[in-house]
């Protein structure tokens, strides 16, 4: 094997959150001495909450374009972060392209870009099974992988637990946030809840909370990254709130506000608590030690990754938050749950590099 300690890696991604996660990973790997190249085709999106992670240049190529490009020949390994079926498609294309070009395919590593549980996790891992290295978050994902492969005739792919690698802030698990403002940030998602009536109900619940807590500010932080068109924005909570303020004058409390585009890090840094249905951005709040509320008002949806919060100890309804005291005494996430999703792992990049080096060594034997 090449005696260089520094690996040359190409990371590619598709999907908003995946591109964000890929950027965080690239930044961390570069800090660990790797020569990192990032490729994705979403370079024109000039916004959002998540882009600040990667400061290097971006090759404007989609994962499939990467798969058939010559670039793959000049790196030690390729990391792909995309929806599982896109990962399968990438692998198949990459292997075919290598066969056609008559050169050996390098190792591909991949994993879910946010911690998953249950059905979603199983479905995700099954699609990624052909990769040479699976990047997992914590012991629970490793447990599921072991179960999924326990009766397989083929040996399972190598895997490594990286912790919550897509969260850029240094881990401050279980520390109590220094509450600078009396504010709660609601992490809005484009997809959940799905229907107009549910979104209206959600807004009504937030308004009621704002009424109950007049000394607090409730900040709706839209998922600007996902709201690609003006119509998306029109269906967001911000637009609904705007409508109410203009059409149902005086009914919406002034302490219910909307966070600006790209304001998530700033809003989070001042928040006393964060609430969400299933936004992965809640991981950022957990990383900052901000108490999180996983809203249970809209029922449970496997497809929406509600299973992720089961056992966290932070599932509650907005209606149950009746007093300021409750908000000031919100408990941290359950330590056992946090450990299970990888919250205790803080040497993820060292683990990843070690696993990649082992993989490359094996490949050269």
């Amino acid at each position: 094997m090449d005696q260089r300690l520094n690996l040359r890696l190409l990371l590619t991604a598709s999907g908003d959150w995946e591109i964000h996660a890929c950027g965080v990973l690239a930044e961390q790997l570069q800090q660990h001495g790797c020569d990192v190249f990032v490729a994705h085709s979403n370079t024109d999106s000039g916004s959002p909450a998540f882009t600040s992670a990667w400061h290097g240049p971006v090759l404007p190529l989609s994962p499939l374009q990467v798969a058939i490009s010559d670039l793959c020949r000049h790196v030690d390994a390729i990391g792909i972060f995309a929806a599982p079926d896109n990962v399968r498609e990438f692998r198949q294309t990459y292997q075919l392209a290598c066969r056609l070009a008559n050169h050996r395919a390098g190792p591909v590593f991949s994993g879910p870009a946010q911690p998953l549980r249950g059905d979603l996790l199983e479905a995700d891992l099954l699609e990624r099974m052909g990769c040479e290295l699976l990047c997992l978050h914590g012991p629970e994902e490793a447990e599921v992988l072991q179960e999924l492969t326990q009766h397989a005739r083929q040996p399972p792919p190598a895997s490594v637990q990286l912790g919550l690698w897509q969260v850029p802030a240094p881990p401050r698990w279980r520390s109590t946030a220094e509450h600078q403002d009396r504010s709660i940030v609601f992490l809005e998602q484009q997809d959940f809840p799905a229907t107009s009536s549910s979104r209206n109900r959600l807004l009504a619940l937030l308004e009621q909370l704002a009424h109950r807590l007049p000394d607090w500010t409730i900040v709706i932080q839209p998922d600007y990254r996902q709201m690609e068109t003006p119509e998306d924005m029109n269906n967001g909570l911000a637009a609904l709130l705007h409508d109410r303020r203009h059409n149902v004058h005086g009914q919406s409390p002034a302490n219910l506000q909307v966070g600006g585009n790209g304001a998530l890090p700033a809003v989070l840094s001042h928040a006393s608590a964060a609430a969400t249905l299933t936004s992965p951005a809640a991981l950022m709040a957990i990383a900052r030690g901000i108490p999180v509320i996983a809203l249970a008002d809209f029922g449970f949806s496997s497809a929406g990754n509600s299973a992720f919060w089961m056992g966290s100890g932070v599932m509650r309804t907005l209606e149950s938050l009746q007093s300021e005291q409750q908000l000031l005494q919100l408990p941290p996430v359950h330590p056992g749950w946090l450990t299970a999703i990888g919250g205790d792992i803080n040497d993820g990049m060292e683990r990843l590099l070690m696993a990649l080096k082992q993989l490359l060594e094996r490949g050269q034997r």
């Binding site: 326990q150 809209f298 599932m315 149950s320 359950h334």
Partner: protein
């Protein structure tokens, strides 16, 4: 001998009622007296009701009337086998009725009918609050434990009732050589999911029939064309065959004979992901899982991934060759998924007696930090409400040009009402890759607008 255990089993769809029938097959020495309530529903096969009558007293009461029956107070345990939200609704209404009438509630139990291919965790949240949840085997138990650990529900009682469906008395004795050279294809209304794959599946079977003149391929439809099931098909399999083949090979037939009868004297059974695999094993017929569409989660094939049963029909010259290469399912896998004599309905009744002897309170669902909201529609047509929401969400996504989201919503809607032509047309439209084609198809299909009064 134990005191008589009086058990009421409630089911609505035909598959739930079949599962109730399986649970009713307990050895006499367990002293369990079964009453079955088949919630009246269009399309429930008469033959099934007759089978239920063989194993217990049969009632046919709507749920609201059932709850008012004085006889409800006489049961030690009540098993509820309905669709998700109705399970939660029944628990709520039953507990309220007991409170009103000042009676001690029976042990409430529920379960999953057959193999759980998707939405397991969601299914568990609908079932929390029940004293006991029936699961198939260690696989499901492990998934439940993992899901509920670190929660107040971690001690949820479960009974592993297994995947065996046929009583040992009904087991076959026929010699292998006497069995017909027949492959029974157990059709599923939803698998494979797409119409294209369903047509391809039929063509694959027909090609194999052509290549295997000494064999018969017998398609066993899930239901008769006039019958309905919860998973009512987009089009009946007979229509798919007609359209896909035009002329069916002489050795390819459709049979409405009960599947158990077919499996009892056939050599092979094939399916995409049906629980009938386990019926075949019960009845000495060799099962195989058709992997021609890949080992996909979407089609449920991934459940059988390491079973040793996956085969691509297209790879075999004939059924003789396929038969020669079939191996037995991996016994470790069988045990893991629950096909093992140690997992049987008897386990359930022992567990119920345990709970009766040592009652423990079931945790409430509104514990701060662990709040489970079961959004229960008390109206008669939950199904309709869900469909309405999905179609509205799909239209919203179409309006916003979020094609992928629209596709997901319409797929879900299609599963609830597969025969609805406009859902299918809208789905086809949003799946179109060409912008122009998509626009044309959207324009030609009707935009969904909910009626205020049905």
């Amino acid at each position: 001998m134990n005191d008589t255990l009086r058990v009421l089993l409630i089911g609505d769809t035909d598959s739930q009622l079949r599962y109730c029938r399986v649970l009713s097959q307990v050895p006499a020495d367990m002293n369990v007296q079964i009453t079955l309530n088949a919630v009246p529903r269009d399309g429930t096969p008469e033959s099934l009701l007759a089978q239920l009558a063989e194993v217990g007293t049969v009632w046919q009461l709507p749920l609201d009337r059932l709850l008012t029956q004085a006889a409800m107070a006489t049961f030690d345990a009540i098993g509820v086998f309905l669709t998700g939200s109705k399970i939660a609704a029944f628990r709520k209404q039953y507990k309220q009725a007991c409170q009103r009438r000042d009676i001690v509630p029976a042990v409430l139990f529920c379960g999953f009918n057959g193999v759980v291919l998707e939405n397991f965790e969601e299914g568990i949240t609908w079932r929390l609050g029940y004293d006991l949840i029936c699961l198939n085997g260690p696989r499901d138990q492990q998934r439940l434990r993992r899901f509920l650990r670190h929660t107040p529900f971690a001690a949820q009682a479960v009974a592993l009732t297994g995947l065996r469906r046929v009583r040992s008395a009904a087991m076959p004795s026929s010699d292998w050589a006497q069995r017909a050279r027949r492959l029974v294809f157990a059709e599923q209304v939803l698998m494979p999911r797409t119409a294209t794959d369903r047509y391809q599946m039929i063509r694959t079977l027909a090609d194999l029939a052509h290549r295997s003149p000494a064999w018969q391929i017998c398609v066993k439809p899930r239901v008769r064309p006039e019958e309905r099931t919860f998973h009512a098909g987009q089009e009946h399999i007979t229509q798919t065959i007609e359209k896909a083949l035009g002329k069916t090979p002489a050795n390819m037939v459709i049979s409405y004979q009960p599947i158990a009868e077919l499996l009892r004297d056939s050599r092979l059974m094939g399916t995409i992901s049906s629980t009938a695999v386990f019926d075949a094993l019960d009845l000495g017929c060799r099962p195989l899982v058709i992997a021609d569409f890949g080992c996909q989660n979407e089609n449920g094939t991934s459940f059988f991934k390491d079973s040793g049963l996956l085969h691509c029909l297209g790879h075999y010259q004939s059924l003789d060759e396929l038969e020669g290469q079939l191996s037995s399912p991996d016994p470790r896998w069988l045990h893991w998924v629950g096909y093992d004599p140690q997992y049987n309905p008897g386990v359930l009744y022992s567990q119920i007696r345990n709970i009766l002897a040592h009652p423990t309170a079931v945790p409430s669902l509104d514990i701060p930090g662990y709040h489970i909201t079961q959004i229960v529609c008390d109206g008669p047509n939950n199904h309709g409400a869900a469909l309405n929401q999905l179609r509205m969400a799909a239209e919203e996504a179409i309006r916003k040009r979020r094609w992928q989201e629209a596709e997901v919503m319409l797929q879900k809607a299609q599963r609830l009402r597969p025969e609805n032509r406009n859902i299918n047309r809208r789905l086809k439209a949003v799946r179109s890759k060409s912008v122009m084609l998509r626009s044309v198809r959207l324009a030609l299909s009707q935009r969904y607008q909910p009626r205020t009064q049905e």
